[in-house]
C-alpha cells in the first residue's frame, strides 16, 4: 500500500508540474470525454483526461495524463513530450514515433508501471556485449600476422610492412585482415587478404575466405620462420623447401580453448620460386644453396585441408605438457574443361602429417622431451610434397632430407638439465634422433625396416636461456651408423 501511495504522490507531482518557460502552454482538464489529437495537429498543452480515452494521430509536445482510460497512438503520431496513462493501457501502432516518454501505470502488485522511451536515452551502453574478451578472440588465428622480415633462398628478402586487422576494435563479428609485402628475390609482391565472420563472444566459430599469393612449405615443423631467417642472414642456409601458391581458400574454424579445428577448401596455381643465386649472408658467403625439388610449373590444383591442433594448458617446451597437430589434405588438378576430375579420380592425392610432443618434468629442473612424427599418403605424392627425414629439426648429423618418401616416421627425445638443475647460467641436453622415410602406398613397416634403413643420431648440447625464450644453444651430434662424423649446430630455439 505504501508503494502505491508513493506512486500516486509521484503522479500528482508530475501532474502539477507546468512548464513556465513558455507562456503559450496552457492547462486543460477533460472529464469523461475522449480526447483526440488529429493528424497534422501539434499539441503543446498540458492536458488531463479523466475517465476518457486519448487518441493521438498528430504530435504531442506537452504532457498528457490519462486517468482511467486507454491511450491509442496512431501510425502518424509523434510523441516528443510525455504521456502518462494511469489505470489504462497504451496501444501503439508500429509506425508511431516516440522521442519523448510514455509511462503506463497499474495500481496493483506485479507490473506496477511501464516506461517507453527512445533507446538513446538509456544510460550506459545501448548494445550488450562482453567487454573483456579473451586474447584468443582479439587475435586472428586464421590469418596470423606475417613476420616483418623473412629471408630465404627462394624469396630473398620478403618485406611485409603492411600487416593490419580491422574488427571495429573487437565490437564487430567481422574481421578484415591483410598482409602485403614484396619479395626482393624474384621482384614481385606477395600477401594475403582475409575476411572472417565469427560467432559467439570469444569468436569460437569462424567462417573465412582468403585470397593470397604466398609461399608454402611442408617443413614448418623443423624450425621457426624467424630462426630460418637468421640462418639465412648469418650462414646462407635455408631449411624450408617452398613453392608459390596463388589463389583463394574458404573454410570454417572452430576454436574450443585448447583445441582448434580448421577445414578449408582452396583453388591455387602452384609454381616453383627460383632459387636466388646471389643470396647475401654475413658469413659463409660461398656456401652453395640447395636447389628446389621438382615442382610442376603453373599447375592449378584444388584441395581440401583439415587441421586439428591441441595443447595442454600453458604448454611450454620445458614443463610437463602435451601438444598434438594433425593435418590431412586431399588435392588434385583443377578441372580445366577437357579433363573432369572428381574426388574419386586417379589424380586425387592424399597426404596426412602429424606430430605429438610430450614433455615431462621428471624432477626439479630435469625435463624429458619427446616428439613423434608420422606422415602417410596413398603413394602418389609429387616430388616436392614427399616427406623427408634428416637435417635440422629432424635427424641431426644427416644431410637435409637425406631420405624422402611417401611415408615417414620420426622420433626425437632429449633430456634437458635446465639452468635450475645446473644452478648456473647454462643448461645441458642429451638428445637422440631417429627417422625413416620410404616409398610405398601404405604406412605399414616393421622394426626390421627401421633397423635396416632408418637413420639415427645422438648428441649433446649446451646453451643459455629462460623457460620460454631460449636465447641460444650449441649442439654436437654424431650419426649412429658408424660414420666418424661430428656436426656442430647453433640453434636459437629448442631442438623441437
Amino acid at each position: 500500500m505504501k508503494y502505491v501511495l508513493v506512486l500516486v504522490l509521484n503522479m500528482v507531482l508530475l501532474w502539477s508540474q507546468t512548464d513556465i518557460s513558455q507562456n503559450i502552454i496552457t492547462d486543460v482538464t477533460k472529464f469523461f470525454n475522449d480526447y483526440t489529437i488529429e493528424a497534422g495537429e501539434i499539441n503543446s498543452d498540458n492536458i488531463r483526461v479523466i475517465g476518457g480515452d486519448l487518441y493521438v494521430y498528430g504530435t504531442v509536445d506537452g504532457k498528457i495524463t490519462v486517468v482511467g482510460g486507454d491511450v491509442t497512438l496512431g501510425p502518424t503520431s509523434v510523441v516528443n513530450g510525455t504521456i502518462v496513462a494511469i489505470g489504462g493501457s497504451v496501444q501503439k501502432d508500429e509506425n508511431a514515433v516516440i522521442h519523448g516518454k510514455i509511462i503506463e501505470t497499474n495500481m496493483k502488485e506485479g507490473l506496477v508501471y511501464r516506461e517507453m522511451e527512445p533507446a538513446e536515452s538509456i544510460n550506459g551502453g545501448y548494445e550488450f556485449r562482453i567487454k573483456e574478451r579473451s586474447m584468443r578472440a582479439s587475435e586472428s588465428w586464421i590469418h596470423p600476422e606475417t613476420d616483418f622480415f623473412i629471408y630465404n633462398r627462394n624469396e630473398g628478402l620478403l618485406f611485409t610492412p603492411l600487416n593490419s586487422q580491422w574488427d571495429g576494435d573487437g565490437k564487430s563479428s567481422f574481421r578484415l585482415s591483410f598482409s602485403i609485402g614484396y619479395r626482393f628475390g624474384p621482384h614481385e609482391p606477395a600477401g594475403r587478404l582475409t575476411l572472417e565472420k565469427s560467432f559467439f563472444s570469444n569468436k569460437n566459430l569462424v567462417f573465412f575466405g582468403s585470397a593470397f599469393k604466398e609461399s608454402r612449405t611442408d617443413d614448418f615443423y623443423r624450425l621457426s620462420e624467424t630462426e630460418n631467417t637468421v640462418a639465412g642472414l648469418l650462414g646462407r642456409q635455408d631449411f624450408y623447401d617452398r613453392w608459390n601458391e596463388e589463389g583463394w581458400s574458404a573454410g570454417i574454424g572452430l576454436d574450443l580453448y585448447r583445441v582448434k579445428l580448421k577445414l578449408l577448401m582452396a583453388s591455387v596455381k602452384q609454381d616453383s620460386i627460383a632459387v636466388t643465386s646471389n643470396l647475401w649472408s654475413l658469413f659463409e658467403k660461398e656456401r652453395p644453396l640447395r636447389s628446389n625439388p621438382y615442382t610442376e610449373p603453373q599447375e592449378t590444383i584444388g584441395y581440401w585441408q583439415g587441421t586439428v591442433a591441441f595443447q595442454t594448458r600453458n604448454y611450454s617446451p620445458i614443463a610437463t605438457g602435451m601438444a598434438l597437430f594433425v593435418e590431412g589434405e586431399a588435392y588434385q588438378k583443377s578441372d580445366d574443361g577437357s579433363n573432369i576430375y572428381t574426388m574419386n579420380s586417379e589424380e586425387l592425392r592424399k597426404r596426412v602429417f602429424g606430430f605429438l610432443k610430450l614433455n615431462w618434468e621428471m624432477s626439479y629442473g630435469l625435463v624429458f622431451r619427446s616428439q613423434f612424427i608420422a606422415g602417410t599418403s596413398d603413394g602418389k605424392l609429387h616430388e616436392f610434397r614427399k616427406f623427408g627425414v634428416g637435417g635440422l629439426g629432424s635427424v641431426s648429423a644427416f644431410p637435409f632430407k637425406y631420405q624422402t618418401g611417401d611415408q615417414m616416421v620420426q622420433a626425437n627425445g632429449e633430456i634437458v638439465f635446465t639452468d635450475e638443475f645446473t644452478d648456473a647460467w647454462f643448461f645441458l641436453k642429451l638428445f637422440v634422433d631417429g627417422g625413416y622415410a620410404w616409398n610405398d602406398d601404405t604406412f605399414s613397416f616393421t622394426k626390421q625396416n627401421i633397423l635396416d634403413f632408418g637413420i639415427s643420431s645422438a648428441g649433446v648440447g649446451i646453451g643459455s636461456g629462460d623457460k620460454d625464450d631460449l636465447n641460444w644453444s650449441v649442439n654436437i651430434a654424431k650419426p649412429l651408423n658408424g660414420r666418424d662424423y661430428l656436426e656442430t649446430t647453433i640453434r636459437l630455439d629448442y631442438n623441437f
Binding site: Y3, E94, I98, L111, R114, E132, F200
Partner: protein, 293 residues
C-alpha cells in the same frame, strides 16, 4: 571445384546477412515490478534469464519487498514474466525472459548491435530463500549479502557471472550447486553462506571460487572439470583432505598441501578444526587449488 565454391557461397552468404532493421529497435520499454513478501516462511526464487545483463541484489531499504525492473528492446523481447504466487507458507517468484524468435533472421547477430536487455531485481531480506538461477548468455552480477540463503543453485551457460557475498548468512545453507558451462564464473565470499555441501561443475568455461574466510563447520566439496579450468581458494583455518582424479592430459596445481597416499592433506592437521573434504576430477582441463592466508 567451381561448383563446390558456388554451393559454398550460396550456403554461407545468408549467414552474413544483417537482418531487417525495425522501427521497434529505436525505443526501449522499462517495466517496473513490485511485490510485498509477507506472511510466508520461505521463498523459492527461480529465474531463467536467456540473454542480456542481469543484476540481483538485496532489497536493503525494503526488507519485506521484492522490487525490480526490466529494460528491453520490444522487437527482440516481450515483457518478462515476473510471477509471485503463494501456496501455504511458501512463496514462489518465477522470472523468465521472453525472447522473440525471429525465424527469418540469424540470431547469432544478437550479440552485437541490435538488442538491449537489462534487468535488476532486489530480493527480500525477511524470509529464507531457495535460489535457482539459470543464465544462458550475458553478464550477471549477484550480490547475496544480507539475504537468508537456504540453498543456491546456479547454472551459467555462456557469458560472465559474478557472485559476491559480503556478510554472514544468518541461516545454514543446505547446498550450493554451481555449473559453469562455457562461460566464466567468479564467486567471492562463499564461506559466508555456511554451506555444508557444495557441488561445482565446469564444462568448457572457467570458474574462480573463493571460500576464504572463517568456516566453522565440516564441508563436502565435489568438483568436476571437463575441458575448462577452476581456481579454488580455501581458508587456512580448516583441515583439508583432497582427492584428485586426474591423468596426464590434465593440469593440477595444489599449493600448501602435502600428498599422503592418494590424497592431498593439510600439513598440520588439527582435530579441533572443521574439515573440508574435497573430491575433484578433471578431464582435459585444469585445477588450481590454493589456500588463503
Amino acid at each position: 571445384m567451381k561448383n563446390t565454391l558456388i554451393y559454398l557461397l550460396i550456403t554461407i552468404i545468408p549467414l552474413f546477412g544483417k537482418g531487417l532493421q525495425h522501427d521497434d529497435d529505436n525505443f526501449i520499454i522499462r517495466d517496473h515490478f513490485h511485490y510485498s513478501i509477507k506472511g510466508i516462511e520461505k521463498l523459492e526464487f527461480k529465474i531463467d534469464y536467456k540473454m542480456g545483463e542481469l543484476i540481483l541484489k538485496p532489497n536493503s531499504n525494503n526488507p519485506h519487498e521484492f522490487d525490480g525492473f526490466a529494460e528491453y528492446t520490444p522487437h527482440y523481447f516481450d515483457s518478462p514474466i515476473v510471477d509471485y504466487t503463494v501456496f501455504g507458507k511458501t512463496g514462489f517468484i518465477e522470472i523468465r525472459t521472453n525472447a522473440i524468435d525471429h525465424d527469418h533472421e540469424f540470431s547469432f547477430n544478437w550479440g552485437h548491435d541490435h538488442f538491449h536487455n537489462k534487468s535488476e531485481y532486489k530480493l527480500p531480506l525477511s524470509v529464507p530463500i531457495e535460489l535457482e538461477l539459470e543464465f544462458s548468455l550475458g553478464k550477471t552480477e549477484i550480490d547475496l549479502s544480507g539475504l537468508q540463503i537456504q540453498s543456491l543453485d546456479i547454472e551459467c551457460g555462456m557469458g560472465k557471472t559474478t557472485l559476491n557475498i559480503k556478510s554472514q548468512n544468518s541461516i545454514v545453507c543446505k547446498e550450493i550447486n554451481i555449473e559453469a558451462g562455457m562461460g566464466e564464473f567468479e564467486g567471492i565470499g562463499l564461506s559466508h553462506l555456511r554451506a555444508k555441501v557444495v557441488n561445482i561443475k565446469v564444462g568448457f568455461g572457467s570458474a574462480d571460487i573463493d571460500f576464504s574466510g572463517i568456516i566453522n563447520h565440516d564441508m563436502d566439496i565435489e568438483v568436476e572439470v571437463g575441458l575448462g579450468s577452476i581456481e579454488l581458494i580455501l581458508p587456512d583455518n580448516v583441515n583439508i583432505s583432497a582427492r584428485i582424479h586426474d591423468h596426464f592430459l590434465s593440469s593440477v596445481d595444489v599449493d600448501n598441501l602435502i600428498k599422503k597416499g592418494n590424497k592431498y592433506v593439510t600439513k598440520d592437521w588439527d582435530y579441533n578444526r572443521p574439515t573440508i573434504k574435497l573430491d575433484m576430477s578433471v578431464g582435459l582441463g585444469s585445477i588450481d587449488l590454493k589456500i588463503s592466508h
